[in-house]
Symmetry: C2
Subunit: 538 residues, 2 copies
């Protein structure tokens, strides 16, 4: 067989060649813009040639601090296309962490959205490798800034060559992208994506049995493009010639609902908190969401009550998936097998609320101690994954040895596997609640709590306890309409039938807000820290 490498540049080339008329809809600070793949292709080639001119060399890291929009999409292909490495930076991290990862990755140039400028100006004096800043503004004129040297994205493109070829002799194992993931303690950890990994992962996204991404789709990644490449959707959607809708900065649930209605979005992707927000919006205002064939949800477990609401109330199919920064990210996806079509609706929902089946191309095992757990849906253990789009290290980081052992990624996620092979995440190893020598799954309790009509968000943490080591405390945000109108006991009574007595939370705290990570996950560490003396102060 021919030794033809799998390269990121070839994904865009296919869109330019076969789908030049298809559209990328992009929202920026100045409104909605529309570009065809033909235009995106020429602009990307201009950008690749401009990177050349800026002195970016093969293997150099190109940093981005940007929202989901067409310019970010162009860098997605221009950097790997010319042999450099796309380094998307999570702009919700602390300035200290942002500064750390830019220096650690040794970014040579930095692409920055206009509204992120103040953040970058704050850290600029600590940056040791950045040789140029490019401001991704709609204006030709640059805004006033203390950054230097500074370039206008559009001016840079004007000077670039729209016919620039992508680098041909790429080794498919060369780095194409990188992304840092938050660590429980210490600095973020870097994950490097190869050309091969990204292309194989794109195949995985196009399979009929996974997300079935297709030319017929209108694909809106809400998950940020600075977070695990927006789950790889911009790569795959471009390859398959799907229309893309990129929702830009500071979107609201209302804006998302409008984009779904106006652009006839068929597939969208994001974390549960995004969908909780959308659900809330759909409950308040009417939108035509009939074009949606799939809401792809991952990042943390989707509460069954939310899946049910989307499917039964709004007739929007919900697709539950699992992955992490280290897995590019798609690892498992929830789906019914053909012989499960006749089981009752509740049981179907139960299966589909799990994280589901391993995607073709990967291997997994779930271990407790030295042994693999039984696939009975009950035995818990840590999930291990292996495969060609799974990282094998943290970039120049001693913590590699904690997570990568004997050729496997130790995910840090505790899971069960049922008889059909469906993975169900029970908790993070560090979030499991250890009570009196037994384990309590915070995720199971959260799902049960979220099913209560008054509950907007719920999280459960293990809090140190003098007698039991840890005991669960639930933190709950009520929906506006229910604030001040619901008692703790009502909620405890509501979930009690589902759990053994010793699983029940010792306390329910009503909060205005649950602290979240930069990518919208509940920040349990913060809650644990606030509550650490709770049982000692009583």
């Amino acid at each position: 067989m021919m030794q033809v490498p799998l390269t990121v540049g070839s994904l865009l080339e296919r869109a330019e060649t076969f789908f030049p008329k298809k559209e990328v809809v992009s929202r920026t600070l100045s409104g909605i813009h529309r570009f065809t793949y033909k235009e995106i292709g020429r602009r990307t080639r201009r950008l690749a040639s401009a990177l050349d001119t800026l002195g970016v060399k093969r293997g150099d890291r190109v940093g981005t601090l940007a929202w989901n929009h067409h310019r970010h999409l162009e860098i997605y292909f221009a950097a790997p296309g010319m042999g450099a490495v796309l380094h998307t930076i999570n702009l919700r991290l602390s300035p200290e962490h942002i500064s750390y990862i830019i220096n650690h990755a040794e970014d040579q140039v930095l692409f920055v959205d206009e509204d992120i400028l103040p953040l970058v100006e704050k850290v600029k004096d600590s940056l040791t490798t950045v040789k140029a800043y490019i401001i991704m503004t709609d204006q030709d004129k640059l805004p006033a800034t203390t950054l230097e040297p500074v370039y206008s994205y559009e001016r840079l493109l004007e000077a670039g060559d729209p016919e620039q070829s992508f680098l041909q002799d790429i080794n498919e194992n060369d780095p194409a992208g990188m992304c840092y993931t938050s660590a429980t303690t210490g600095n973020p950890k870097g994950v490097v994506y190869s050309h091969r990994g990204i292309v194989l992962h794109s195949y995985a996204l196009g399979l009929a049995d996974t997300t079935a991404l297709s030319e017929k789709d209108i694909c809106m990644p809400v998950v940020p493009m600075f977070h695990v490449n927006a789950w790889g959707m911009p790569f795959a959607a471009t390859w398959f010639g799907s229309k893309q809708v990129l929702p830009g900065p500071m979107f609201t649930p209302k804006l998302l609902a409008q984009l779904i209605e106006n652009e006839k979005v068929t597939v969208t992707a994001g974390v549960p908190t995004i969908w909780l927000g959308l659900l809330n919006e759909l409950e308040q205002n009417h939108y035509d969401t009939s074009s949606l064939r799939s809401i792809l949800c991952g990042g943390s477990a989707a509460p069954m009550a939310m899946i049910k609401a989307f499917e039964q109330k709004y007739n929007i199919p919900f697709l539950h998936a699992y992955g992490m920064t280290e897995t590019t990210p798609l690892a498992t996806i929830s789906t019914l097998k053909s012989y499960q079509e006749d089981i009752d609706e509740e049981e179907k929902l139960n299966i589909r609320s799990k994280q589901g089946l391993l995607v073709p191309g990967l291997q997994m095992k779930v271990i407790a101690g030295d042994n693999e757990v039984k696939w009975d849906g009950k035995e818990m253990g840590e999930l291990l994954i292996k495969g060609p789009w799974i990282a094998d290290e943290y970039y120049k980081d001693e913590r590699t040895s904690e997570s990568f052992k004997d050729g496997w990624l130790y995910t840090g996620d505790v899971a069960t596997v049922d008889e059909e092979g469906n993975v169900k995440l029970v908790d993070r190893t560090k979030d499991l609640i250890k009570s009196g020598g037994e384990w309590i799954s915070s995720v199971d309790l959260e799902n049960a709590l979220m099913a209560h009509e008054a509950v907007f968000e719920a999280t459960v943490v293990g809090v140190p306890h003098p007698q039991w080591q840890e005991r669960p405390i639930a933190c709950i945000v009520l929906k506006d309409a229910f604030k001040g109108k619901v008692e703790k006991q009502e909620i405890l009574d509501f979930i009690a039938p589902q759990f053994a007595k010793w699983w029940m939370p010792d306390e329910i705290l009503f909060l205005d807000e649950i602290p979240k990570t930069s990518v919208g996950k509940f920040l349990k560490r913060e809650l644990r820290s606030r509550l650490k003396d709770y049982f000692f102060e009583i």
Copy 2:
């Protein structure tokens, strides 16, 4: 990213792990058999261990002369799984060619279906490398044979280890399979498939935009497993956990129709002559074919009239694809783009009767002389293909240099490309009719002829002509009901509106049968040879 090789063994492992209850339905000389993937997995491992015992080493070729059934499927995974090379032999070739390719491939062992025994006995004395014959019979007792040493497939399995591991340290570029393709002149040419090529091709088959093969499918490859791995369907169907229906030896259109009805087949695959036969059967007897979501058709161009009949009369979607032994084989597949959904039905049919769009992962160009042709649906040129599942040579064969140049496969197919990028095969370079310095497409004429209600099969060949170099002659087989009732002129009048006058065939010959190749394609070489003096004898 982890350096995890793409291996054929891992495809079966996924079926064993996640789809152990799903079925393989296999028809052999003794009737219909049913096996689960769990059973197929254990039998395959027994077989791999038996191959070990027979002395088959890494890289050795394992020959098969067999129809589509479960034992053949087991060898598909056992041979590559233990590091050997699956060599499927086209049992419809001449004894001389069969002997040539077994010796040329240096097959170490030969798996033979019971009804193929006489053929093998005929050539056995010329075989120089075969060390063992395994008869794939349902009986434990071996039939009488002059082959030696000879083994019973089932006895061999009994002695094998059902827990045998597949070889772990496979390089994904190692050979996993091989298949010989007929040459216009001389001996067949060998194509070697790598593990990597087969796995990437399997991804391609699972994409929503191609055949969308899925766990929900019931997949019946009618294309023989000795022909380009039955288009890769057994590999992909196993990987995705589809139920498989393998129709066995000497099937008839009636049998295929019954299997479709009884097993609720959703996807089936084969060459146009198979589907002409099935269409004929459907016209004579009633079957429930409502389960079929796709008839995949390739090997040679499907006549538009046939596509129309299946779709409009029987409501069976028809999927036209293109590939060859050298391309594993899927290269292009016909599909409408999302913005073509509103065009009229005739124009849709016109698009869908083309060979369609290049599959994600491949590159193509169409050249006339040194230049690429314009994508206008008119300019003709030779189709060139490149990609990770495209062969880069013929196995130990000097003819490699004729077809593989500058990193491209020269397909020998003449094609046009329309504005949307759809490939349309116009002819084989050698079948194009050269008349008075212009080119006439035999395929276009054939499609027009096949649309006549009386025509069962039609082929057009260029015949040497004293004045025009070549002129087209049409050879036609009428449907039984029309035999003796149709005049030449009626058929010529029927197609005349579609063609320039000088494209029209000079003659129509009514034949009882059109000679075909071993894989069911029209054997134009044979017709040209019969007719070579036609215009000189008049």
